[in-house]
């Protein structure tokens, strides 16, 4: 019995979508999630990966099928069918990608909002007295919602080829970032020379550190551990070795580290 092509197309489409969903949910290419931001980020990644897998498998499948099904046999001379266009079909494959990218755009807008990226950074919440304009990425929302007293504010100075972390509260300066878990951290970052970037892959966070233009980044670490801090902007010959670490500790452990390093002035 001949299976009608519409039914076959429908079945193939469903298999494709289910397969894509399965790939998107099962395969994980990302490192450990160690911040609130990472949890939200990974949701977006899964959605993008699922849509991408469906599109890629679908288009490549169609291409390979065409190449096999419609290849020219050796003894065949002549042309294919003279079809120059099909308006409904073209409207269909303009509208469907438009809807898909609109969905992707709106969804990532929502994710970005949840990361706290939409709030304009008109002024610095931490150093109210300073009038200099602060630029930044994600995390402003979390500052607004938290009480300022609970925010741990750290100053980051980047230079060729190191990061320096200064805790104004305890007057501590370190080359390694120590933060407590489950508390909002705000980094106020300045560069001494060229552009650097502060990146913690496990936090899914990155912000350029720009000379002459301080930037700000907020995050909440969730999983105690030791994670790399990587400079992601070409900053000179030793760019590759400009690495540090962020140590996320339980609040108690962090408190004792903080107390033991605080300078009594």
């Amino acid at each position: 019995m001949q299976i009608p092509s519409t039914i076959l197309t429908l079945v193939l489409g469903m298999v494709l979508v289910i397969g894509g969903l399965w790939i998107g949910q099962t395969i994980n290419f990302l490192p450990t999630e160690a911040s609130l931001n990472a949890l939200i980020y990974d949701q977006l990644f899964r959605v993008l990966f699922t849509i991408g897998a469906i599109l890629f498998v679908g288009i490549v499948g169609l291409l390979v099928f065409s190449l096999i099904r419609f290849r020219r046999k050796n003894n065949y001379i002549g042309d294919g069918v003279a079809i120059e266009g099909n308006l409904p079909l073209e409207i269909f494959w303009t509208a469907v990608p438009a809807v898909v990218v609109l969905f992707v755009g709106l969804y990532s807008y929502d994710i970005y909002d949840r990361m706290g990226g939409i709030v304009p950074l008109a002024h610095d919440h931490v150093n109210e007295t300073q009038e200099q304009k602060i630029w930044g990425g994600v995390g402003s929302r979390s500052i607004d919602s938290e009480t300022v007293s609970n925010v741990l504010s750290i100053e980051v100075t980047a230079m060729q080829f190191a990061f320096l972390f200064h805790y104004p509260d305890g007057n501590i300066t370190t080359g390694e970032l120590h933060v407590p878990a489950d508390r909002t951290i705000t980094l106020r970052m300045e560069s001494k020379d060229v552009i650097h970037a502060f990146w913690v892959p496990e936090f899914r966070l990155k912000q350029d550190i720009i000379p002459g233009q301080p930037t700000q980044l907020s995050f909440t670490a969730t999983r105690p551990g030791r994670y790399p801090i990587v400079c992601a902007e070409l900053c000179g010959p030793y760019h590759g070795s400009m690495r540090s670490a962020v140590v996320v500790e339980e609040p108690d452990a962090w408190q004792s580290w903080f107390s033991s390093n605080t300078k009594l002035t």
Binding site: P31, L44, I59, Y109, V194, L234
Partner: protein
Amino acid sequence: MTATIASRGTGPRPRLQPTGWLRYFSFSVDHKVIGLQYLVCGFVFYLVGGALAGAIRTELISPVADFMARDVYNQVLTLHGTVMIFLWIVPVVNGAFGNYLIPFYVGARDMAFPRLNAVAFWLIPPAGLLLVASYFITGAAQSGWTAYPPLSVTTPATGQIIWILSVLLLGGSSIFGGINFIATILKLRQPGLKLMQMPMYCWAMLGTSILVIASTPVLAGTLVLLSFDIVAHTGFFNPALGGNVVVYQHLFWFYSHPAVYIMVLPAFGLVSEILPVHARKPLFGYVTMVYSIMGIVVLGLIVWAHHMFTSGTPPWMRLFFTIATTFIAVPTGIKFFNWLATLWGGRISLNSAVLFSCGFIVNFVLGGITGVALAQVPFDIHVHDTYFVVAHFHYIVFGGSVFIIFASVYHWYPKFTGRMLNEDLGRFHCMLTFIGFNLCFGPQHWLGLNGMPRRVSEYDPQFTLINQISSVGALLMAISTLPFLWNVIQSAISGKIAGDNPWNALTPEWLTSSPPPVQNWAGETPLVEEPYGYGVPINAIDLSATSGRDLWRSGK
């Protein structure tokens, strides 16, 4: 009287021009000679850029910086990027194929400004030599092909200044070329040839040239300001003197994002010429293809800030550029569906040109998907400036443009030389390139997601294995050029004689001899008509027609 008129022709005067193969080494004004000069010169620089890529991948076999000095590594990566973009892809997809094909496609005997055309080409070899020589003189620029200040202002000045000069020359060449293409397409079209009847590559080159003319001068101006900062210690971009480094990024990406379309739009045009011929079908959806090119041109000019999502860009700007960038996927998607529909129901001959084109479709779809992902601010924040971006970018420009350059060489080589390339070697070349390419750049997506930044000569040892796999892929790609080089040289000497139209194609360059005479057609210019009229039923053909393609259609 007739003789006088004939001698007033605008073409080159044969007496002053060398003939035979020597003319390819002369200051010829013949568009075909200039086109092949672009192609061969570009390929030489491809080998240079490839050798630099090989050096990069050799360094990255081990996680420590042990193969070359760290500043040399930065010079190598800067040269690699600059050579591949400005001396290989842009000159070849635009200059080489544009010059060779556009006059044929509009039914002209040469470009609108033949001498300007020669000037545009002859700016390239000195600019390229200057750039490469800077490495041997004082050391090349080492701030990446993006030359972000303040790094480009603080690294050794001589290399950086030579880099700027070289890019300015190449930008000038590009602008001259763009003006020439627009004038040729709009003004030298045969009477009666409507815009909507031109072969698709003309549209692609029209769109590309608009982008070139709109954006390249911005890059030139920016680089002049940057050179002032370096030489005269002005403070346009240098924050130590009150400058703003982010302004440079805006100006730089205003050119350099469209530059991606300057590299891929012509490739879109070329693949639109190749697929119908070998699938024996008309190009599907001509009108939507044209609109999608123009959609890409318009959108391509308003997406630059997506390279700056981590540069302290204000939130409203991030949203605008996210949406604009995401929407480029729609016209691009239309083109891919149309190519698939062109293949569907065809009589596809699986030769090297088609295999490379299909490799392009596979690679570009993946590059496009990661591109849409990168347009999303939250996604980009994690992977910006990592190997994920390196992988994405190479899927677009190597998997896209370079695959199409090879497809085009296999397709048009019979026209260039009058001889056929060896198909077995061609398929072997394609297979090796495809496997090597995916082995090299596929795993780099994982590297980027997991924490390897780009432009580093040393990295976390956990990434060693993946980097070694990537380097093996790069080695395969390097090896894959050998059968190609052998094929091109060997076939030029003793390849099978091609005849005028070995593919039985309908576009006008195949209506003349192979290789074509100096003025393109020996006698009258043939009428440029339906370039994709494949598969028209025999009874619809006027059997009294005498041109070769009508005879092919009628099956005689």
